[in-house]
Symmetry: C2
Subunit: 213 residues, 2 copies
């Protein structure tokens, strides 16, 4: 998959959005689309879309447009949506619970197989039939169980230390909700989610419009 | 604030990250920084940072660097972090509850003042002393109460319809967690959060590394 290397991060960020809209078209039994139609749906320009999708080798054909099924399959493979993942959650607070309870993950092939916390009041209780384990036992757990993705939902004061332990135990993908960037070695994929940053983007535009009134 | 207009969306997306790191420096009583130091913290290149921050009129001085306090203040003003916001949440499921319970918002000047749902089992119960109201009463509520930001945490099947009602009632900023893009008129700021897209970005990089092994 050498062609991956030429794909910019900006394009990668747009792929899940294409994937989502293509799946929506399939659900509506629409099997052919155009860059103009995709533009209307996604808000990206048609030329941007053509350029992005060209990265994956000309799924668009003059006069025919895009084959929705093939295109969504190909993009799904690239972003890894065709695979199943075993997930562990560290931190069973608000966000951790919301993620553990989110049924959309199960539909998409993500299976939460373990939840850890350090709070004695939470350890032993269950979320969706999964017993919350003591974080002190995480190394022993990972020596016996394979996990693809660790979701970190702890306070930021401990998030990096916990990530370091998980990485030492062989975890190669971290989805971080603690409000502080987690860093790790080159061979570990880390996605830092910052909900505050999304909120600031909203308040930027909101205030800009208020000022312009 | 005419200069706002020249700032690209990509820059706007990076500002909250600068803001977060600058605040961290202030908490550690560090009042001067450089594009190199910011580069180490944020992962953006030093030249990118200089270019971004130049948009706001040369806060960096040759041989001195950036004044952390002034720079964070200016960025805070641009992204609207210097203001307080009244927030309503529609949908008191997993995500809605997590957001209502998230104390970080209160520290940053966001106040959740109302929560709505359509589930009779939830209506009347409380989250953080806020009584969950019937969504059927939302128009009456908004005719008497001012809300800056509506957070939509409903299933996607109803998210656009609810947004339409809120917009009709004068809401000008929507933070949407339903997994389907909400659309609205030009004068309404809408930020669609797609956690699945962030997860796909993670699985893309994870799978790419696995393939390259």
């Amino acid at each position: 998959m050498d062609k991956d290397k030429r794909i910019s991060n900006a394009v990668i960020r747009r792929l899940p959005k294409y994937y989502r809209y293509l799946k929506e078209l399939l659900r509506n039994e629409i099997y052919r689309t155009s860059s103009n139609e995709l533009s209307n749906m996604t808000g990206f320009s048609a030329s941007q879309i053509r350029q992005d999708l060209n990265n994956f080798g000309g799924f668009g054909q003059q006069g025919f447009g895009y084959d929705v099924f093939n295109l969504s399959n190909e993009i799904g493979k690239i972003i890894g949506a065709d695979k199943d993942y075993k997930i562990m959650i560290v931190g069973a607070g608000n966000i951790g619970q919301a993620i553990a309870n989110y049924t959309g993950f199960y539909e998409n092939g993500y299976e939460v197989i373990a939840i850890f916390d350090n709070n004695p009041n939470l350890i032993g209780s269950t979320i969706k039939d999964i017993v919350i384990k003591d974080i002190a036992d995480v190394e022993a757990y990972l020596s016996e169980n394979f996990v693809n993705i660790a979701v970190i939902c702890t306070p930021k004061s401990v998030s990096q230390a916990i990530a370091d332990v998980l990485i030492k135990c062989g975890i190669k993908a971290i989805w971080n909700f603690a409000p502080s960037d987690i860093k790790g070695p080159e061979d570990v994929s880390i996605e830092n989610v910052h909900l505050n940053e999304s909120l600031f983007s909203l308040t930027y535009h909101y205030n800009k419009r208020e000022r312009e009134k």
